[in-house]
């Protein structure tokens, strides 16, 4: 725990420098990769605690409504039930990321940059209008599309597992446009932190 906290502080410092260097947020296509996360080596563990100031760096807080206390104190189940990671929605028969989807992923990426211990599963889901069989692959495509975008933002690929549930787990049991739109998604589940 102590080690994780220290490395978090170091990371926060590094990230804030990167953020400052980059200036204002730009579309994330060719954003420079942040330096690799420092490994939690025994050498680090022997360092004195880092000064507390950088935590307060206001430029680091991502624009999302969840107070940090709620995120850090919640159990994994609680965290996921009221997830700070936004689902990404898709058009019918499509795995293309819309501008809106990219915005949601940008916000998720900021959170994942901030909570570097989080391992996340990206679930691909489809609405009931495709076949059960083909939807397994379409759901995979959606999860993979979201993952590739996050990786392009510098989130390490090994923190992002994908799984497709096809149309087996609809979020909305309805049979109308609104329900279908809710069910065509890449859904984020935090599996470790």
């Amino acid at each position: 725990m102590r080690v994780a906290r220290q490395s978090f502080l170091v990371m926060a410092l590094v990230s804030s420098m990167v953020t400052l260097a980059c200036g204002k947020k730009t579309p994330p296509v060719a954003r420079p990769m942040p330096p690799p996360a420092p490994a939690t080596t025994p050498a680090e563990a022997t360092r004195p605690p880092a000064p507390p100031e950088p935590v307060a760096a206001p430029t680091m807080v991502p624009p999302e409504p969840f107070p940090e206390d709620a995120i850090t104190s919640a159990s994994l189940d609680e965290l996921n039930r009221n997830s700070p990671l936004k689902p990404v929605f898709f058009d019918l028969d499509s795995d293309a990321l819309s501008a809106e989807a990219q915005k949601a992923l940008d916000e998720n990426a900021a959170l994942l940059q901030r909570y570097r211990g989080w391992a996340v599963t990206l679930e691909g889901h489809c609405d009931e209008r495709g076949t059960a069989e083909y939807n397994l692959a379409l759901g995979e495509r959606r999860a993979v599309a979201a993952r590739a975008y996050l990786v392009s933002l510098g989130i390490p690929a090994d923190r992002l597992r994908t799984v497709s549930y096809g149309k087996e787990f609809p979020f909305d049991p309805g049979h109308d446009d609104a329900a279908w739109a809710r069910n065509r998604r890449a859904h984020f589940v935090v599996t470790a932190r």
Partner: protein, 451 residues
Amino acid sequence: MTKPTFLAGAFAIGVLAAWPRAQQLPATPQQPTEVVTTITSEAGAAPRLAVPDFIALTNDAETVAIAKQIGQVLWDDLAFEKEFAFIPRDTYGSIPRATSFADVPFNRWRELNADGLIVGTVKKTGATITVEMRLYVVRTGVASFGREYSSASARLVAHTISDEIHKSQRALNGVARTRLTFDSDRDGERMVGTVENRGVREIYTADYDGANQRRITIGKTLNIAPRWSPDGRSIAYTSYRRGGAHIFISNIFDGTLDEVTEGSASGENWLPAWSPDGTRIAFTSTREGNPEIFIANRDGSNVRRLTIHPGIDITPTWSPSGTQIAFTSDRSGTPQIYIIGVDGLGLVKKTSESYCDRPTWSPAPYNEIAYASRSGPGFDIRILDIAAGQTRTLTFGEGTNESPAFAPNGRHLVFTSTRAGKVQVFTIGRDGKNVRQITRAGTNLKPDWSR
């Protein structure tokens, strides 16, 4: 499943004794070991059968109930293939009930215009039911076919009689002893340890007529898309019990489980399909990054990639000869049905419709592929005659209809439909007639029919 014991073993012994001789001496035809007369009607018309309740040889309520049940199940089994016409059961009341094979009133059955009459006796000894059955030519009062069966299951006896009558009288492989499998959420169980409140799906089996529905997995997760092995002893399916999707085989009579795909390096693996000889399994895997069709041995060894395309390739099905595989690919922009040789050569696109999936190759003698085709808001079942290059439609927008699979004699299909509300499993004739609802509880999906 306990197979009925045939007390009349003369037929089998005769065949075995004849075997070496038949190879040496092609000259003289063998004496037939069993004389079977075929029940006939007027030229062109289906023979008319009467199937009264079987005769209980003891008067206890249990035996009487079994005798009645066998008659009814046998009627349903025979009617399913539509090879015979039937004298309606409600007209039998005027005819005196036989108490043994000795007092069958053939003249009265003749008045009802029956060509054939099935008479059976039932005796119960402990848990064993012993049934003697004869199929009579009503005109002559001579038995054209007769056997004795013993089994613990009255339904299995009736199914066996039906299959043997179809075989001996019509040279047809009946499906009365075949079974269905599908995935269902009927038990309402929820995933454990997950963040969303999600219902699990488990694998179930049922007799071809929907009786004896049983659950065979306890994964507490998604267990979906089951497929019968050709010998009917195992079911391959897609399971998420390891987190991602993997191929498992339940050996349902041994109670053991085999894993065909293992480890995170193997990607996601879906929709196993058995080769006709049961030695290999085709499936879809993302192990090389993109959904492609692979073939592996039953034990997961010797994995070989069959398709090479950045599009989605999924839902394989084997040709009856085991030399080709039909599958779904969206390489043209929308999901369509393709055929490829198991050597990876000879790729041919077979459909150009809005959206096609779940191809299922029919057994011989039909050379057809059934699939689900988008037809407006939902899907309908269509059948492609491969040689003629023509398609025909089996369902016409009664709800959405998906996931067809053929019965082993190619004359029926099992599929799912929302025509009765939630998604349920139905069977249908290959002519689109005789729709029968198999499941009613929960939602039931992705069915398959045993060989």
